[in-house]
């Protein structure tokens, strides 16, 4: 029977071509939306690397001279700010960071290792950041007093970057810069300013996904910010773990005090939870919009398909009547109509799959891992099959209502 169905479908290829095309296009659209959704969901289930409950961020705007001549002053103000904030009963821990979680902007760096690209985002944090965020150290240690005045710059990597740079080797105590390919243009002009201390990996963290749960799983490095010259940096945000139950009224008190210390700085207070939900919205909105468009398209396709199938059944009453007269039960007719539809659908989907598996080769949708890609493909296939079957149910039932005597009666 299967061969018979295939033959029927093939011999009616001119009629079935349009349905195949429709299914093919639907598959591409559905896949496009699903691959994003699956990608985000896959990112979501990976650990975030920090806690955001009861963590507040005060993002600061600093007017800064372009020649760095005022840096010493900025660092002193920052230190004073930290000390003052620490005195608040409401604040358990406080740290200065370059980028607060869910804030905009990434400090990105990277290099090549034997021609392979290694990229990572970075952050500069003062020592207490570990307690503010409850960062989990997988190996080694966090920054501490032992790093003061050392002849190296301590750095902490997330597991991905540790793997990207050192593979299966133990990264602790090693210098990532030694692994990078030499710069073909020779040392950069900044290199002859003053000799820099070598970097040293002192710890590995789970992760620190500053851009949030949905964002790309990316390499990460954390640099110690001692707020002293020459390497200290003025922060872009203060982050603080507040006591549970701290209310929004504290915000006013906080800003007032901070403003008193640095009159020309601007402050914006937000809870990380708030920033998180804003960040999430920025993902939901486009996905929902695309989903809606795709859903609408699916509806159109479904209606069109139902119509086409319905019409095809009415056009084929004679054939159906004939088959009934030759011994087909109503069930067989039902299965035949659905079966033909499945053959056509499978054909359209087959072409779709063939096209979609070319994408990674063309480096299109390259952000998705193999699993994400495969999952999305299976999900899209299932969805389209469900859709076409749903469209075929009513027309197939209609076909079972054909009475042979009537269908074969007159020309």
């Amino acid at each position: 029977m299967f061969r018979h169905l295939c033959k029927l479908v093939w011999n009616r290829k001119r009629v079935n071509f349009l349905i195949t095309l429709e299914i093919f296009i639907s598959f591409l659209v559905v896949f496009g939306v699903i691959v994003f959704a699956v990608y985000y969901l896959d990112n979501y289930r990976h650990p975030l690397g920090f806690n955001y409950e009861n963590v507040w961020a005060v993002q600061v705007g600093i007017e800064k001279k372009s020649d760095d001549s005022d840096r010493q002053r900025l660092l002193d103000t920052t230190k004073q700010m930290l000390a003052t904030l620490k005195d608040f009963g409401e604040i358990e821990h406080v740290a200065a960071v370059w980028g607060a979680p869910y804030s905009r902007g990434n400090w990105q760096s990277g290099n090549t290792i034997k021609g392979r690209n290694v990229r990572f985002w970075g952050n500069f944090m003062t020592d207490e950041a570990k307690d503010v965020f409850g960062i989990n150290i997988v190996r080694g240690r966090w920054f501490g007093k032992e790093d003061d005045g050392a002849n190296y710059n301590p750095i902490i990597l997330n597991q991905k970057t540790a793997r990207d740079i050192f593979g299966d080797e133990d990264p602790l105590g090693k210098n990532p810069e030694e692994r990078f390919d030499p710069d073909p243009d020779g040392p950069s002009p900044s290199a002859n300013r003053e000799p820099k201390k070598p970097e040293r990996v002192i710890g590995i963290i789970d992760d620190f996904r500053k851009n949030g749960e949905f964002a790309e799983l990316f390499g990460y490095q954390i640099f110690r910010n001692t707020l002293t010259m020459p390497d200290g940096r003025e922060p872009r945000a203060f982050v603080m773990k507040v006591r549970p139950g701290t209310t929004a009224e504290f915000e006013e008190k906080l800003v007032k005090r901070m403003q008193a210390i640095a009159k020309d700085w601007s402050f914006e207070v937000k809870t990380i939870a708030q920033m998180r939900s804003e960040n999430h919205t920025s993902y939901y909105v486009p996905i929902a919009a695309f989903g809606l468009v795709a859903g609408f398209l699916m509806l159109m396709v479904a209606l069109g398909l139902t119509g086409v199938l319905w019409q095809s059944v009415t056009q084929r009453t004679k054939e159906i009547g004939l088959r009934r007269a030759k011994g087909a039960t109503a069930t067989r007719i039902y299965k035949q109509i659905l079966g033909e539809l499945l053959v056509i659908t499978t054909f359209g989907l087959l072409i779709g799959v063939l096209v979609v598996i070319q994408f990674p080769l063309l480096d299109f949708l390259g952000f998705a891992t193999k699993q994400v890609y495969l999952y999305s493909m299976l999900l899209s296939l299932a969805l389209i099959y469900l859709l076409t079957i749903a469209c075929g149910l009513y027309p197939s039932r209609l076909a079972t209502k054909v009475q042979p005597a009537e269908a074969l009666h007159y020309e």
Partner: protein, 222 residues
């Protein structure tokens, strides 16, 4: 072989009631070749459909091969149509998108336990019986009317039914092609003892059969 006892058929629609058959009693012996004649609208097709289990009589009893039809359930009817009966229509009713041999195989698709090779073999045998072995992979549209009707006959006999029912099989053909079809039916009747019931308007063809049943206004007049 075919026994009808007091068969009635009334078509009821919302407004009108058409009595198509009244008190038909018919007994066709195994291996007999009979024709049914009568003016248009006298109930010939209706009678054939009742015999062929395509239509349910409003009253009376029908038995095929000594098997009384007691329950008109879908599954049972389908099996009876498939195994006991072969139907031929005035307008052939071939599926244009299938080749000749695929058309002939159709009844075998609805039979259990046949491999595709078996089906193909039987279909080719049936086509040989109607003299169409050279047109196996043609499509119906590429054949003459007489050839198409022979394909329909091959399809009707491919399952080796004991009974062949033909509703004006020569009605759409010129007299020469009609004669050819009659010869095919006669040879099937003669060589394979197939019981044939044929509806016809053509007295010339009817005379070639053993017995003529005449209908008038839904009544059996001879």
């Amino acid at each position: 072989m075919i026994q009808l006892e007091g068969v009635e058929k009334v078509y009821r629609t919302d407004r009108i009631e058409t009595i198509a058959l009244t008190n038909i009693n018919l007994n066709v012996r195994a291996g007999e070749f009979i024709s049914i004649m009568g003016p248009s609208g006298s109930g010939k097709s209706t009678l054939l459909n009742v015999i062929g289990l395509l239509d349910v009589p409003t009253g009376g009893k029908v038995a095929l091969n000594q098997k009384p039809i007691t329950a008109y359930t879908d599954k049972y009817l389908a099996q009876m149509r498939n195994e006991e009966l072969g139907f031929i229509f005035q307008t052939f009713h071939l599926i244009n998108d299938l080749s000749v041999v695929d058309n002939v195989e159709i009844p075998l698709l609805y039979r259990k336990g046949l491999s595709s090779a078996d089906r193909r073999k039987r279909a080719l045998e049936a086509l040989e019986k109607v003299g169409l072995q050279s047109r196996v992979y043609h499509f119906p549209g590429q054949l003459s009317g007489g050839q198409q009707q022979r394909v329909a006959i091959a399809r009707a006999i491919v399952g080796n039914p004991k009974i062949l029912l033909a509703d004006e099989p020569t009605g759409n053909l010129d007299s020469q092609m009609g004669d050819e079809i009659m010869e095919v039916l006669q040879s099937l009747n003669r060589d394979h003892q197939t019981t044939v019931v044929m509806v016809t308007h053509d007295p010339r063809q009817a005379e070639k059969t053993e017995r003529i049943v005449r209908l008038f206004d839904g009544r059996q007049v001879s």
